[in-house]
């Protein structure tokens, strides 16, 4: 540090006050920048095992070792002007989706645990969740047989199923509606990539954007009944019998 600084009490106090002001100002500036960097574009998906975004930004060292470990060259590092925090890894499903390697090399390569090493089965990864975002353009929902998202899904039959229902337009055909099951969808993005439309009708969204949440005070009667092992208010289930006067 500077030699020969003013070592009087007043000088020290002044320097300390100045220093505190600069520290505060820097800190406030960084605070703003960090807040801005938290905005993650909805089509930017984190690699498998990524912690929730806020925790991820505390953990990710921005070293790119996951990028190097990815055998398919899928992961990229965000640039300053990009739509994710500078230097953090992401992939865009519509460009190249995750291949879901069984040994999860990207997560294993992470030195800090921003990609959770506890993830052992790639089927448990939750990079996002697929959502049919455009029922109006999905070919299957028009009554055609596209089925591509269902067929490319690595967990086909679990993460995406085809539910058949009546086609009211023709009156005689079926509609095979693709339905995503969030409890199985890894968010790999194969469906979004494969969607044959010009703009995909099925998209992988970040969990924070896609997931709903039931309020904590809300109780589902049947769940509570299961938990308690009996009806919570006995006898409430029955309805009064209404039939015409005198009928048996």
């Amino acid at each position: 540090m500077a030699a020969g600084a003013n070592m009087t009490r007043r000088g020290l106090l002044r320097d300390a006050a100045r220093g505190a002001a600069v520290t505060g100002l820097c800190s406030a500036g960084f605070f703003g920048l960090v807040q801005q960097s938290r905005a993650l574009a909805p089509n930017f998906l984190r690699p498998p095992g990524a912690l929730a975004e806020a925790d991820f930004l505390a953990a990710c060292l921005r070293c790119g070792l996951c990028v190097r470990a990815c055998p398919y060259d899928i992961l990229k590092l965000a640039d300053f002007v990009g739509a994710a925090a500078n230097g953090t890894p992401y992939f865009v499903a519509r460009k190249i989706p995750c291949e879901m390697c069984e040994d999860i090399p990207c997560a294993k390569a992470c030195p800090s645990g921003a990609l959770d090493h506890a993830l052992e089965n790639i089927d448990d990864a939750r990079m996002g969740v697929a959502v049919i975002t455009s029922r109006e353009t999905c070919l299957n929902l028009q009554g055609l047989r596209c089925d591509v998202c269902h067929r490319v899904c690595p967990l086909s039959g679990k993460a995406i199923t085809l539910e058949d229902r009546h086609n009211a337009r023709t009156g005689k055909h079926a509609i095979f509606e693709p339905v995503v099951h969030a409890d199985a969808c890894t968010g790999c993005g194969k469906c979004e990539k494969a969607c044959v439309l010009e703009e995909a009708a099925i998209k992988v969204l970040p969990l924070a954007l896609a997931n709903g949440k039931i309020a904590a005070h809300y109780r589902l009667g049947w769940e509570e009944k299961k938990k308690a092992g009996h009806e919570l208010v006995p006898g409430i289930g029955g309805l009064p019998v209404r039939r015409p006067e005198g009928a048996p």
């Binding site: 540090m1 500077a2 030699a3 320097d15 220093g19 505190a20 600069v22 520290t23 505060g24 100002l25 820097c26 800190s27 406030a28 500036g29 960084f30 605070f31 920048l33 960090v34 807040q35 960097s37 938290r38 806020a54 925790d55 930004l57 505390a58 953990a59 990710c60 060292l61 921005r62 070293c63 790119g64 070792l65 990028v67 190097r68 590092l77 640039d79 300053f80 002007v81 925090a85 500078n86 230097g87 390569a109 992470c110 030195p111 800090s112 645990g113 921003a114 090493h117």
Partner: protein
């Protein structure tokens, strides 16, 4: 401050061009060498070091992590994998032995940029420019650490030009190039040694390590000093030289701000400066010079 006298000319005349540029050349080789370790992989498929300066893995066994990035992560309340801590500890110990800010002058990719700006400024820019207190960087470092703790996020990596520039060189990208250009212009036209010497929190952090480090530069031959001021002219941290060179005490430059770049040793026609340990109190005069050897 422009000098009529161009630093290094006297040393070149007396000791020859190579001797007067020895450490400068070695530093450029070192900087390129570290970069090459990271580039042989993407360029030729020969993987030596993977990652960036923030964190890397060399030959799939040696983990290294920048201790400042690691510290921010801890302050952001992340519970890390052991590898991050091991890597940070190795780097910390290495720089405690090898001179804290040797990172700045021997590894950091921004150093050639600011060196060039400093060189051009000495030659072509008149006036002192913006005067910043050298201590500003420590308050900036404080700001970075405070922001990490408050936001729960690794704050400085959002704009760290050191790691971003390196990442651009190794992975591609433009942000770091833009930052490097801004720093270059700042150092050239606004403040002398402005960024590295006054603002960079990474340099400030390594400076704190440097306050205790073993490898230092010593003005061992200070009795030969002819007051030409060449060393002060080329030194990116001129404040650090005087106590060692002009003092009566230890000839070792003890300030952590010294980047141990060795430029003072290069440009000195009297061969006063040598690398030494911080415990080395020898003052010898006259030193054998290369010209006497050859």
């Amino acid at each position: 401050m422009t000098f009529e006298r161009i630093p290094g000319v006297a040393a070149t005349a007396r000791r020859g061009w190579f001797a007067a540029h020895k450490f400068l050349l070695l530093r450029r080789l070192s900087q390129l060498g570290f970069l090459a370790l990271f580039l042989t992989g993407p360029w030729f498929g020969l993987w030596i070091a993977k990652g960036t300066l923030a964190s890397s893995l060399t030959l799939n066994v040696l983990p290294l992590t920048d201790p400042l990035v690691a510290l921010q992560s801890l302050l952001a309340r992340h519970v890390p994998e052991a590898r991050m801590l091991t890597g940070a500890a190795i780097v910390l110990i290495a720089y405690l032995l090898l001179g804290g800010r040797t990172f700045c002058s021997w590894v950091c990719p921004i150093n050639p940029v600011t060196d060039l700006a400093g060189y051009l400024r000495r030659r072509f820019v008149e006036g002192k420019g913006l005067i910043l207190k050298p201590a500003t960087r420590y308050w900036g470092l404080g700001g970075v650490l405070l922001a990490s703790a408050v936001t729960g996020s690794i704050a400085y990596e959002v704009i760290n030009p050191v790691t971003t520039f390196w990442r651009d060189l190794v992975f591609g990208g433009v942000a770091g190039l833009v930052m490097a250009a801004m720093i270059f212009l700042f150092d050239l036209f606004v403040a002398k040694n402005g960024f590295c010497g006054h603002l960079c929190p990474v340099g400030a952090f390594y400076g704190l390590i440097g306050a205790k480090t073993v490898l230092r530069v010593s003005a061992r031959g200070r009795e030969n000093c002819d007051d030409c001021l060449d060393c002060f002219a080329v030194c990116p941290e001129p404040l650090v030289i005087a106590p060692a060179l002009r003092g009566k005490d230890s000839p070792v430059i003890r300030s952590g701000a010294c980047t141990a770049c060795g430029r003072c040793a290069d440009v000195c026609s009297e061969h006063i400066f040598v690398y030494a340990t911080r415990f080395d109190r020898r003052v010898e005069s006259p030193l054998k010079t290369e010209s006497q050897n050859g």
